[in-house]
Amino acid sequence: MVLEIGIALLRIVAVLAMVMVMAGIYGWFERKVSALMQDRIGANRASIFGFAGAGLINTMMADPLKFATKEDFVPSGVDRLLHTLAPCVGLFAVLVAFAALPFGDTVQVGGRYVPLQAVPLNVGILYILAMLSLSVYGVVLGGWASNNRFSFLGGIRGSAQMISYELAMGLSLVAMVMTYGTIDLQEMVRAQGHLIGGWLPAWGIFYQPLAFLLFLIAGIAETKRAPFDLPEGESELVGGYFTEYSGMKYLMFFMSDFIEVGVVAGIIATLFFGGWQVPYLGADGFHFPFGLSLALPAVVVILLQLATFLLKVVFFGWLQILIRWTLPRLRYDQLMWLGWKGMLPVSLFNVLATALIVLAVQGSR
């Protein structure tokens, strides 16, 4: 019993640590990609004994330290409880969303089966959607509890935007659920283990390219980052919903943004790019389509799968940051047009087409 609880705690702590490190890496990407895009060197001021680590010291150590030691300023005439609660709710929602993502296959350690996942849930994808839908409270409360017109406008924009794009996001995932016939994320990843025609990995993107595109767009809109960063549009709203935040609370908003990028990247990797599956890697080693085989011990296979999943998550986070620094901001009417008249009908069509194909495939069996 004690051992069971210990293993469960260890899994949760491991996932939490990975998420925190990942958020730091995204912060580093953000600084470096923006510098690259603007033809600067960027994030290279802080160093330890002359070692700057290409800006890693700056973003992973100096920045958090600076935020932690800054004054926590609270404007006058605000609801102090809600002002403090807002960043906590936002961070909580995105952190717990990670719990359902599988990092690897179920591992057998000394006679017991340990899933490489913080919490094995059979309602996986719906749970992540539910938690992501809670993250809007951070934005709304932050905007409302700041007693500032700019913050307030940011909060209102944020809530309308996130509710609008949740529809297209949910519907693109409905198509994926129909494709796999399950809502358990671990089952979905296992289903992507075989090969199409003997050489192409059976990843979700090859079955549902349209759903991938829809999910990527809706996911970026959910994270409130450019080209969908209207809730925080600097040129119009100072900083939007977090204008009146400083110190650790500001850092918490910042972190929840990056962790949400990670959640979206994690869902993309899990649903569309095979999760922890490595192409041609089975439980006993590599089996390449042209006849070559390479036997590997089980530990190496597990580590390879774990590393592959993390690499995929980091890559899709980097992709989102690249998009964020490439595209200019949409106008608000364009944002609403895209969400309701563009993506919603397309995602509905995708669900209908998927349903017909699934029906045809089942009928032909």
């Binding site: 539910a130 839908s133 809007v136």
Partner: protein
């Protein structure tokens, strides 16, 4: 569900539910409602119904109350002054409340009352509360109610569009 966990949850639920009614600030009221709905989701989770729990959070806490908040903020509602309700409202509130209480009590009074304790909770089948079994129930036994609900939602959407059009014209 162990009685201790249920007790703690029930107390928290009561506190947050009273918070919805007693808070003078509309935003805090709405937030108490979110906490209440979230705790009800936890109840569902402990009753082996994870799907209903997750839907409860996604639909009620994550979408409907956000819209409540949106409207509260858009109308810029200030704190409500605490005042005693009019006698007629008070009377009807007490009447409806007692009727509801009576209906609840009826469950525990003979002849076919619900018995607490042993035998109250029977074992459920392994696929209880799963997406498949819930979907099968919705599309077979409760198909009519399901479809009627969708028509109700459609009517509400059309009504909203008609009202918005009228204002623009």
């Amino acid at each position: 569900m162990s009685p201790v966990v249920f007790g703690i949850l029930a107390v928290l639920l009561m506190v947050s539910a009273f918070g919805v009614v007693l808070q003078s600030s509309p935003v805090r009221s709405a937030l108490s409602l979110v906490v209440t709905l979230f705790l009800i989701a936890v109840m569902f989770l402990l009753l082996d119904a994870p799907l209903v729990a997750v839907l409860q959070v996604a639909v009620y806490a994550g979408a409907i109350v956000v819209l409540f908040l949106f409207v509260i903020m858009l109308l810029n509602l200030q704190d409500e002054p605490r005042a005693m309700a009019r006698a007629s409202i008070l009377f009807s509130a007490v009447l409806l409340g007692s009727l509801f209480l009576l209906a609840l009590l009826r469950l525990f009074i003979a002849p076919n009352r619900v018995r607490f304790g042993v035998g109250m909770m029977s074992a459920v089948s392994p696929d209880f509360g799963s997406v498949g079994s819930l979907g099968a129930q919705l599309f077979t036994r409760h198909l009519l109610a399901f479809e009627v609900t969708s028509i109700l939602l459609l009517v509400a959407i059309i009504g909203a569009v008609v009202l918005a059009k009228r204002r623009l014209a």
